[in-house]
Symmetry: C2
């Protein structure tokens, strides 16, 4: 189960799609140049190829198990995690003043991809820690930051998000967990939280749980939730973990995939917790963490897709079977020679590269919107926020498709667990569910990012795509062809947008019945747009004679995306604009 980090494509995206000149000009990143970024990614790539990628089948086979109140992971995980911490990988995209390497988010996105491609089960632990760091940094007191940030940034401690309860999944308004204030200023947190990723394990010296709970007399629903920091081991003033807090893992789940990532049920029994920020603003703080996590889940989608793609390509070039139609008999009969196997491999590649371009471009906007001055922030924040649900949904839904294509290319062998590719199909399946299902992303896109500003950002998005089309029209026939397909997909978007803006006020059910098709359409268009920008950059490089093989292949991959994937936008438009009548017809009796 080998894996090689796709550094070349990552650097292409960084150079051409991530607004690198603006990002690296930010005060925060002034010390960083692309050589540092490349060096870090290459070293992480080697580390992951050697140490993390071999964990994935071990972790899948052995899984996590509960022994008493301890979660036992395969032994290799402890060794690998210790080395991960030693090499400082957790700190890669965190601020220098808390011990981080201080690389921008766009480099962090590439690093997250590499780690999760090597093993999603392993990668989930740092991913959740990243989220806890973000939330603390944004909303914690100075004392909390002082005490908790450095060990989290180093990876010596890990973090979790505690939102879900049995009756409160997508609907956090139903959270019942309680927090009673104590005389010393701390709170006694009680209740049951489920689906807590890495909620219990022995990899790190401490676990910092961020927990949504209600203080006495808090309002019902979303507005009465506060955020608490609940350490597994209570921390002395000097930062040393001491007494065990009363939060216990009572069971872990038996899951379809990511089996070495322990998914815990945690019981809080008057556990000592500390309020983060102000009371009743917990959901707002959690959203910061969730937005970062949603983006990261999209990147996990690119990761598992890339891994599945590498395996499928390699198998397709090795496995000899049948005679390739239309090729001379002395030509190879490896199955890649069959037109449909070639189609599947190239479709996988186009989806992987589309997802990577979308997520790395979005990371650039996020960097600018979070670290730029007020003008930059006002300019970039709406676009960055518009792109987050697209990254989450496009990359996660497509990961399921890509992993499934990977199984298909392996034929009967794909269905045998030892081949390893069925694992990607199982692992990927959680991506469109956790950190907000695809439907939740669709509500976010349509409700918060489109209807709330009456389509202003959506129209700007469309206009930026039109600009890209115009630029491509001045290029080669291939670029013009890509521009034409992009234009068709954009027209489908524009028509859907107009319909949704008109329909939503009077018939919200009809509008929201089309929310997922709209999300799919928009995500596909956004990925196609970024790839199209890439094709233009590639043609410029080609004309300069730089890396002609890579650049020519990039342009072809974008064409594959245009011909085989962008064409799906039109069917989503039809679903949105004509599908509501049948969808809501009461004769359906559901």
């Amino acid at each position: 189960m080998t894996y090689e980090a796709p550094i070349r494509d990552m650097m292409f995206n960084l150079d051409h799609l991530s607004q690198w000149p603006q990002v690296s000009a930010l005060e925060k990143y002034r010390e960083i140049d692309r050589t540092d970024a490349r060096a870090a990614l290459e070293e992480l790539g080697r580390f992951c190829t050697d140490l993390i990628a071999p964990l994935s089948s071990v972790g899948d086979t052995t899984g996590a198990r509960l022994d008493g109140d301890k979660v036992v992971l395969p032994e290799a995980f402890a060794t690998a995690y210790a080395q991960f911490v030693d090499m400082g990988w957790q700190s890669l995209a965190h601020p220098v003043d808390h011990g981080g390497m201080g690389l921008p988010r766009v480099v962090g996105a590439a690093a997250t991809e590499i780690l999760n491609a090597a093993d999603m089960s392993f990668g989930l632990c740092p991913l959740l820690t990243d989220g806890a760091i973000d939330a603390l940094q944004l909303s914690g007191t100075e004392a909390q930051k002082e005490l908790y940030l450095r060990p989290l940034v180093s990876g010596r401690w890990t973090g979790t998000m505690n939102l879900t309860e049995p009756q409160a999944g997508s609907d956090l308004g139903r959270v019942r967990c309680k927090a009673e204030p104590r005389a010393d200023g701390s709170y006694g947190v009680s209740g049951t939280k489920i689906f807590i990723t890495y909620g219990a394990h022995e990899l790190s010296e401490n676990i910092i749980h961020l927990v949504l709970a209600r203080t006495p007399g808090a309002p019902d629903g979303h507005r009465g939730l506060s955020l608490f920091l609940v350490p597994k081991f209570l921390v002395d003033q000097d930062g040393t973990p001491g007494d065990r807090n009363s939060v216990n893992c009572v069971s872990i789940e038996h899951k379809l995939g990511v089996r070495a990532s322990p998914t815990a049920v945690l019981e809080y029994d008057n556990a000592t917790g500390y309020l983060i920020g102000e009371e009743n603003r917990g959901l707002e703080y959690m959203f910061t963490m969730m937005n970062a996590a949603r983006f990261a889940v999209g990147v996990q989608g690119v990761a598992v897709s890339e891994r599945a793609y590498q395996h499928a390509l390699s198998y397709a070039k090795e496995r000899v079977q049948g005679q390739a139609i239309g090729l001379a008999p002395d030509k190879t009969t490896a199955i890649i020679g069959h037109p449909d196997v070639r189609r599947m491999v190239l479709r996988m590649r186009a989806l992987v590269e589309g997802g990577r371009s979308l997520s790395m471009a979005a990371a650039g906007w996020l960097d600018l919107s979070q670290n730029g001055d007020d003008d930059i922030c006002a300019e970039t924040a709406p676009v960055a926020e518009f792109l987050v649900p697209l990254v989450k949904a496009f990359c996660s839904e497509r990961a399921v498709e890509v992993a499934s294509l990977g199984v298909q290319i392996h034929g009967g062998m794909g269905f045998i667990e030892e081949t390893g590719v069925a694992q990607f199909y199982r692992d990927a399946r959680i991506l469109p569910i956790y950190e907000g299902t695809t439907a939740i992303q669709a509500n976010d896109l349509l409700g918060r990012k489109v209807l709330r500003d009456a389509g202003q950002t959506a129209r700007r998005f469309s206009a930026m795509i039109a600009d890209t089309e115009a630029a491509l029209q001045t290029g080669s026939a291939k670029l013009q062809d890509i521009a034409a397909r992009l234009g068709e997909a954009r027209a489908a978007f524009d028509a859907s947008l107009a319909w949704l803006l008109e329909t939503a006020p009077n018939d919200p059910r009809a509008a929201f019945g089309g929310s997922v098709p709209f999300l799919n359409l928009t995500g596909t268009l956004a990925a196609g747009w970024q790839l199209a920008r890439g094709a233009r950059a590639a043609e410029a490089e080609l004309q300069r004679g730089n890396e002609t093989g890579f650049m020519a292949q990039k342009i072809t991959t974008v064409q594959i995306f245009a011909h085989h994937i962008l064409v799906e936008c039109e069917s989503d438009r039809a679903r949105i604009m004509t599908g509501a009548t049948s969808l809501l017809d009461e004769a359906s009796q559901v």
Copy 2:
């Protein structure tokens, strides 16, 4: 994990889509009426609800294992199989003169669906026995039929298909297994066969293996394959199983799904085999068996889809979460109230009912083409053969989609194995692979069923759809709307067909690069066509005041299919007609 057989919808399909009047008028089926059919399906439904459906989670958890040279299945399987045989279910669609109930194939298709919905792992055993019965009946000697058919038809013995070898998967020309003639007229069969479903088990008194092998001096490739009958226990002249034959199970596979269905590696070591039919015509005989098996795999797709749908619908109506947008606050907040959950549930329903209509209609054509007089046969055989790859591919690929939607509707719970719906996602994944991958079905459709007769049958298929559109145009506004969508999908088919007929002679790689999109388009169109016929029948019943709730719902389901699924045909057309240039561009460097 409850399951209820969808008898009402099955009878609707039998009455209105399966050409029942012509089928039941065939000499062979003259004794059968629809009351018999309904009674048999209802009784099978009860049997499966009570005895087979509870097996699916047991079988998945326990799986099959090899103990010495014996395959051990969960105990409940042996009890259930014994009752299955006692009640005569194996014999349902087999001829009366070999002990069968003699029901037509269209009823057999419904029975196969019920059994496989209850448990695919269990259902695979009778499915393979059905195939062995078909092959023996068509190509066996009278003596072979006398000796083997009755115990197979009763289910006391089971059958297997032995095609695949490690180097010979989709490419059977590479089969190496040998068969040496002996003085007594039998053959000594030697070699290794892999992926043999129910190749070893203890459920039945004997296993009849049908094995592709080469006699000495046989031509290379496909033309040198002969078919042999190799019993697990050699059979006396009076039909009693005696000595153990030298065929042994050396391992079974650890699979993604259908885990209680043992997938065996069989070693034949000079095992005693008997030639079926003539030497070197083995592939031709096997094709009979394979066509029946391909059709049956399509039906398995409908089966697992129906099971996933029943679970998702039930969960969506029970799980309370969030407030449904656009509904009064006092309205239900079960998640089915959310427009996108409703969309997913109804999409599942439309795909299930579309698959059922397509397969039951195809079963009617198959019945007529195999049992009608020469005129009926000449009229129906080309259409029946055209439909087989569509049934296999549409129903199997859509089963993966439907099972995945079922997981999505369950949210986080869908990813937990105990919920049970992840199993359908795992089980379904084999369907587009075994009995010929989707690409193999696409080669069959484009190569044998379209190009070979220069598009004649394909044009007839299109003309029949146009007739259905014309009939719908005389109906209600809903029917006219369905007709319009069907017409758009048919136009996409016609354009693709014209392009493929023109392109294939000069550029076969370009044509076959579009073979899977063409198969998807054609299968979707065919299912939509059958549903549209159903909508028309439902409107007629509605006007007569019959079962108005069911009939109105059927029409809406067809509209859902038209608005949300038929619209995909246009993107497949675009892929076929413009996708070949990028697909075959050498810059892709694969």
